[in-house]
């Protein structure tokens, strides 16, 4: 299994190391930039500080446009543990908070704080934590987090998370390998600031309590090795390891393998094998944060390539546009046929889309190569030579991955452990057909990620859809149950005074018959008034009933149903009253019974009903009017604008309806049913027809309203069904 701690120490004592599979030896080209000390840049006029510069979540902005900020002042904050703040890199004014081209291969704009420098470079109040050893760990971690430190090697993982592992740490490895060609920022940092790096390591040791500290430096940086050895001489627990130069020895998993012979499992973390790794740049930033309280607002960037007149390393403020660095180091555009500025190294970097791309916390190199330094895109067919498999440091099968990635067989690519690829570019480097292999893997990876995201989203949508269905069914059941109970209650109420009601019905029927005989004998003119009054009154009684139900139930659905039921009942009553009175009496439909009862009730009852109705109406009016008028008086302006809005909305709705009517014939059947209702009303038997002829005018309006309501309900139901 994994190598024991003692074995590792023993081997290290013999000045022996392990090796990782594969690897390549590209031209180093480091002497271009590592001969001169780290330069200072003038403060750029404008800084573009990207809000999210690390892996995790961004914080919330706590500044606004126009605000003056001091150097080192925090611009964001967050309670999320995976968020680290960003800081103003110099003093000045925030002139914009907008989307600005990002330091990302896509160049897609991201939220950025634009600071216009006042050239004063005035620091904010700093609070160092010099006696960190006497402070609780959480205090030190908070200081590191508040300083905005995230891994400066490349991935940008929040340092405070990495520094608070749940497991025991055997080895703290400090990564000073810097294996990628051209880049020398860590090299110069170790040469010039070895002491401060050691201070940072001290802080990390306080936090992590590792058994041993290994500082890995490639043997092509003898000066850096010497400087670090001198700085770490006092502490026997710190060991500077001279690692053979081979690309990509600086990869986290590769370096762990070289120094400890432990392999980080796929999808695992270094801490799973008892190792934590930090970059030298991160150690430097930690020391800055703890001993002087300075947040991470600048970093060393290598500006190199043969299209640069004065290549070298510079201290760049985070947020400086690349153009500022290029101008300072005298970039010669004429040496490039086509402008090609690369952020990062030649193996893993990406071409930037604009020279206004800002320097971020993970930017270690700006490379401006001449055309002869960088190969063109001259991709040819794979010849299955297998050279890529020989050099792969993760022991993958690059050509298999390539076939599957190219054919979009994402499942198979994953079967070949696509996600273990560290995108080092060694395979593409040795490919005789010049296939940009890593490019294919990156595309495949991003496609898989998007697919997984979509899958997650669709699972969530399915879940929500199903829950909604269940809810709708439950609501429907609840409604049905309520209706059933209400109907039962009505039935009971009817039953309790059932005999009385039946008697009344019989009496009323007798009266009706007598009346019918009387009418048939009498003149039409005489009949009309006698017919009219009860009819009108019955209509009013219906109204009263309607108000009753509305106040009791207060449910629009029920009202609509009641209205429809009433209309039906009336029709049925009209038809059955003559033909079979007994049948009607036995009828179960409570609505019908009620209806008949109301219609055939003696005049006295109706009078009482109308009086009651008038009273309730009065009351309602008395209650409603002040309530309606009062707010209008209080807020006339608000009401005006609201009314205007309402008017606009109504106009819009009308326009839409008109448009629909013209284009859509679906409304036709509804209109027909409305007409049918009218027809049936008018076609009722003779004696009812006479009375109802008067009612129709009033009823028509009501029916129309009911139908409109029913239509609206139907529409919503249709929508529900189709969803």
């Amino acid at each position: 299994m994994q190598n024991s701690f003692d074995d590792v120490i023993e081997k290290l004592n013999n000045h022996e190391l392990w090796d990782f599979p594969g690897g390549v030896f590209p031209a180093e080209r480091k002497t271009l930039s590592n001969q001169t000390p780290i330069g200072k840049l003038p403060i750029p006029e404008r800084l573009y500080v990207t809000v999210k510069q690390h892996i995790g979540v961004e914080g919330q902005l706590i500044v606004e446009v126009g605000q003056k900020v001091l150097k080192g002042q925090a611009l964001t904050k967050s309670m999320n543990p995976f968020a680290v703040p960003i800081h103003a890199s110099t003093s000045g004014e925030i002139t914009a908070i907008h989307k600005h081209v990002s330091a990302h291969p896509s160049g897609l704009p991201e939220l950025t704080v634009q600071i216009t420098s006042d050239q004063q470079d005035k620091w904010t109040q700093l609070s160092p934590l010099v006696d960190y050893q006497n402070q609780p760990k959480i205090q030190v971690l908070t200081a590191i987090c508040d300083a905005g430190i995230s891994g400066m090697g490349g991935a940008g993982f929040p340092t405070h998370i990495k520094s608070s592992p749940k497991k025991d740490v055997d080895f703290l490895i400090i990564n000073g390998i810097e294996c990628e060609p051209y880049i020398t920022s860590d090299d110069r940092l170790m040469r010039e600031h070895a002491w401060q790096i050691r201070q940072g390591i001290d802080v990390l040791c306080h936090l992590l309590k590792p058994k041993h500290v290994l500082i890995g430096i490639e043997n092509n940086k003898p000066e850096a090795i010497e400087a670090m050895q001198v700085a770490c001489r006092e502490n026997p627990n710190y060991r500077v390891c001279n690692v053979p130069t081979k690309y990509p020895a600086g990869g986290e998993k590769q370096l762990i393998q070289v120094l400890t012979n432990r392999e980080v499992p796929a999808k695992g973390l270094p801490v799973d094998v008892g190792v934590i790794m930090h970059n030298v740049g991160t150690c430097f930033a930690i020391a800055d944060a703890i001993f002087s309280g300075k947040p991470l607002i600048s970093r060393i960037v290598t500006v190199t390539g043969e299209a640069i007149e004065k290549p070298g390393n510079v201290w760049a403020l985070i947020g400086s546009p690349v153009a500022h660095l290029l101008a300072h180091c005298e970039y010669k555009q004429r040496l490039q046929k086509q402008t090609n500025i690369i952020m990062g190294g030649p193996m893993m970097g990406f071409s930037i889309t604009s020279n206004l791309v800002p320097v971020v916390k993970t930017t270690n190199c700006i490379l401006a190569p001449t055309d002869k330094e960088i190969a063109g895109n001259n991709e040819q067919a794979c010849i299955r030579c297998g050279a890529c498999a020989d050099v792969c440091p993760a022991s993958l099968l690059p050509q298999q991955l390539f076939w599957h990635a190219k054919a979009k067989e994402l499942d198979k690519a994953q079967d070949y452990n696509l996600f273990d690829c560290i995108e080092c570019g060694a395979c593409a480097y040795v490919c005789p057909s010049e296939i940009p292999l890593v490019h294919y893997y990156r595309i495949a990876k991003s496609e898989i990620r998007v697919e997984q995201e979509e899958k997650q989203k669709s699972d969530k949508a399915r879940d929500r859809f199903e829950k909604r269905e269940i809810r709708l069914i439950a609501e429907q059941h609840a409604r049905d149950e309520k209706h059933r109970l209400a109907a039962e209650a009505r039935k009971q109420a009817m039953a309790s005074k059932g005999n009385n009601a039946k008697d009344k019905i019989a009496a009323a029927l007798a009266r009706a018959k007598a009346k019918k005989q009387g009418i048939s004998k009498a003149d039409d003119k005489q009949v009309v008034p006698t017919g009219v009054t009860p009819a009108n009154k019955s209509a009013q009684a219906t109204k009263a009933e309607a108000t009753d139900t509305s106040t009791k139930a207060a449910s629009s659905n029920r009202r609509v149903q009641a209205a429809i039921a009433r209309a039906k009942a009336k029709k049925a009553a009209a038809e059955t009253s003559v033909a079979n009175p007994e049948l009607k009496a036995k009828n179960d439909v409570t609505e019908l019974e009620e209806k008949i009862l109301k219609e055939q009730q003696p005049d006295a009852d109706i009078k009482v009903a109308t009086e009651q109705l008038a009273k309730t109406q009065k009351n309602i009016r008395a209650e409603v009017t002040p309530a309606v008028i009062a707010p209008q008086h209080q807020e006339p302006t608000k009401a005006d604008s609201k009314q205007a809005k309402i008017a606009a909305a109504v106009a819009k709705a009308k326009a839409k309806r008109e448009a629909k009517k013209i284009t859509n014939n679906q409304d036709a059947p509804n209109q027909v049913t409305a007409a049918n209702v009218d027809n049936t009303e008018t076609n009722s038997p003779v004696e009812q027809a006479k009375t109802e002829a008067q009612q129709i005018e009033m009823k028509k309006r009501k029916i129309a309203a009911a139908v409109a309501k029913a239509k609206a309900k139907k529409a919503t139901e249709k929508a529900d069904k189709s969803s």
Partner: protein
């Protein structure tokens, strides 16, 4: 005599073995039966779950049921060719181009309510198949962008036409690598 005996023993031995294995296999078939996903569930897994109803069924699950019952697999515009291909693989049929009668494959969109025009009628809330619209009667409504599937169903019921379907913005996290790779010239 000895030959008949030998044949008899052989037959007996083979027969016995066959019986034993038969029993073992039969037992294993019952005991270790693999519960496979019902077909409808599998189809539903492939469908994009926009619940838009463009296929003519009221949601993805009913369409999955319909496919299982023999309906065409090319009626899902939001899923597009990728979904058709997956369905073809699952159902063992030929992939067909998308049926134009049900619409075209479109870019991803989400609904957006112009809030100052919203009258608070709740019609869109009732129409939304995934409860992604928030609001109350006579109160302004708004869309929960993360939950919106872009199904379009809320647009039509709106009486004041205040709902727009906006394309989903590309961000650095959702962006797919598609640039020319940098190739360092091999030296030596």
């Amino acid at each position: 005599m000895s030959i008949t005996f030998a044949i008899l023993t052989a037959l007996l031995a083979i027969g016995l073995l066959a019986l034993i294995f038969g029993v073992v296999l039969g037992f294993a078939a019952v005991k270790f039966k693999v519960e496979s996903d019902p077909l409808v569930e599998q189809i539903d897994q492939i469908l994009p779950q926009t619940q838009c109803g463009q296929c003519g069924y009221p949601g993805c699950k009913p369409y999955a049921q319909a496919i299982a019952d023999g309906d065409e697999i090319n009626k899902c515009p939001p899923g597009g060719d990728a979904t058709i291909k997956n369905l073809a693989d699952l159902m063992g049929v030929e992939a067909k181009p998308l049926d134009a009668a049900h619409g075209q494959e479109d870019i991803k969109k989400v609904a957006y309510i112009r809030e100052d025009e919203c009258i608070g009628c709740t019609k869109c809330i009732q129409a939304c198949p995934v409860d992604a619209i928030l609001g109350a009667a006579k109160q302004m409504h708004t869309v929960i962008v993360d939950e919106c599937t872009g199904c379009d169903l809320c647009v039509d019921p709106c009486p004041v036409d205040c709902i727009d379907m906006l394309p989903v913005a590309n961000s650095t996290s959702s962006w797919r690598w598609n640039i020319d790779a940098i190739a360092i010239k091999q030296v030596g």
